[in-house]
């Protein structure tokens, strides 16, 4: 997902305190910032929320790539609003992570020097305008699958950030699907572009949910703590079941010859993505990893004088005001 393969941190806390904490979670209570929590819970959350925040921020790059080249002024303003929302999502999530005792700058630095990850999906390039359709439809669609249940997560600030984000996410997916509709119903060349975008984004979108449950050793503790609400395979299945009819409506073909409806389980059977590709992208070897991190580092470095200048200005004003009093 936006947070993939987040390892649950081990916890060495007083078993009695742990039991009381678990009982609160089981009772559906929310945990708030200054309350006692296991060290593992706190650390796992920092990693997960941080990774989610980084994904929102880095996720602006593949779409930002098309803002200046949108086909109409209306599409440009829509895409601009969508990308601006993603910046907002990043900020809501950084705020939530900060309540756990890590600073915004620390989180940013951990992204920039590679200590923290962001979702594998944003390491794929956006080659044509149809990719703006595919990203909104599939990538935001997959994100919604994960974020809706996370509104019920046990950590109060994370849950509230998710509620805000979910309110804005539906616009993202619908504008993407709308682009796909236009392209799929357009000229043969446009329809071909739409099909090509689906072909390239299908498997990377399935990878967003993380490795298969049988290889996902980190889930149990996080699910017990209600940091993770569903298993990777559950969410992936839900996503496929929802998306296949949408592709059919567009008259496009999901690039999976094995795909078929399974009456018995009431869902589609589908091919797993190439997991070796996934692990390779996570390791830093995807098509755009270097470019993405370079862009974030450049923005951070180029912005340093602005951050410092505004701070110096604010301090000067404060001193002048004090002197006048």
């Amino acid at each position: 997902m936006y947070a993939q393969m987040v390892t649950s941190e081990a916890t060495q806390d007083d078993p009695e305190k742990l039991a009381v904490f678990q009982a609160r979670i089981d009772a559906g209570e929310k945990v708030e910032p200054k309350e006692w929590m296991p060290e593992g819970y706190r650390k796992t959350l920092i990693r997960q929320i941080g990774q989610h925040a980084h994904s929102e921020i880095v996720g602006q790059l593949p779409e930002g790539n098309w803002i200046t080249r949108a086909p109409t002024l209306e599409r440009k303003t829509i895409l601009l609003a969508k990308v601006q929302d993603e910046a907002g999502h990043g900020l809501y999530l950084y705020c939530a992570a900060e309540t756990l005792g890590v600073s915004r700058d620390e989180l940013t630095e951990m992204l920039l020097d590679g200590r923290m990850k962001y979702s594998s999906i944003f390491n794929y390039p956006t080659l044509t305008w149809a990719d703006m359709g595919a990203v909104g439809w599939l990538v935001d669609g997959a994100a919604i699958m994960n974020q809706v249940p996370l509104q019920r997560t046990s950590y109060g600030p994370y849950s509230r950030a998710m509620i805000r984000i979910c309110k804005e996410e539906s616009f993202h997916q619908r504008q993407g699907y709308h682009i796909m509709m236009k392209m799929a119903q357009g000229t043969p060349a446009q329809k071909k572009m739409a099909q090509d975008a689906l072909n390239r984004f299908w498997y990377p979108s399935l990878m967003m949910f993380g490795p298969s449950d049988k290889d996902s050793v980190h889930s149990a503790q996080s699910m017990k703590w209600k940091i993770k609400m569903n298993t990777n395979d559950e969410l992936r299945q839900k996503f496929v079941d929802q998306t296949v009819p949408q592709a059919e409506f567009l008259g496009l073909t999901v690039p999976d010859e094995t795909l078929h409806w399974n009456d018995e389980k009431g869902g589609y059977d589908f091919a797993e993505p190439d997991w070796s590709e996934f692990f390779d992208v996570i390791k830093g070897n995807g098509p755009c990893n270097t470019e993405r991190l370079a862009a974030r580092n450049k923005a951070w470095d180029d912005g340093a004088w602005v951050r410092e200048g505004l701070m110096a200005h604010a301090e000067k004003k404060r001193t002048a005001k004090l002197a006048a009093e």
Partner: protein
């Protein structure tokens, strides 16, 4: 120079007549910028008619471990609730 922008808490009045409500936080060098950023981050869809920002360092919060001593005394004062008093229906609407 290494000097992180301070943290601000943001409160928004959603509609006329309602209280301001805490919506989240942000980083800004000063109050003026905090208001501008709050506008962009928290009211992109007409979520508010008024914004307050306050530097997080200026907020004094009750401590979570003090929950008991702080709130328990009110638990025993059930007579503070109207339902404590049985008034016969014959007395009419009250």
């Amino acid at each position: 120079m290494k000097h992180e922008w301070p943290l601000w808490e943001v409160f928004i009045r959603g509609q006329h007549g309602l209280n301001h409500r805490h919506v989240g936080s942000l980083h800004a060098p000063d109050a003026e910028m905090a208001l501008k950023i709050a506008r962009d981050v928290y009211t992109r869809r007409n979520e508010g008619v008024s914004i307050w920002v306050v530097e997080a360092a200026h907020i004094t919060a009750s401590s979570p471990s003090g929950k008991g001593p702080l709130y328990e005394p009110s638990e025993s004062k059930v007579y503070r609730h109207p339902t404590f008093f049985d008034i016969p229906d014959e007395a009419g609407h009250m």
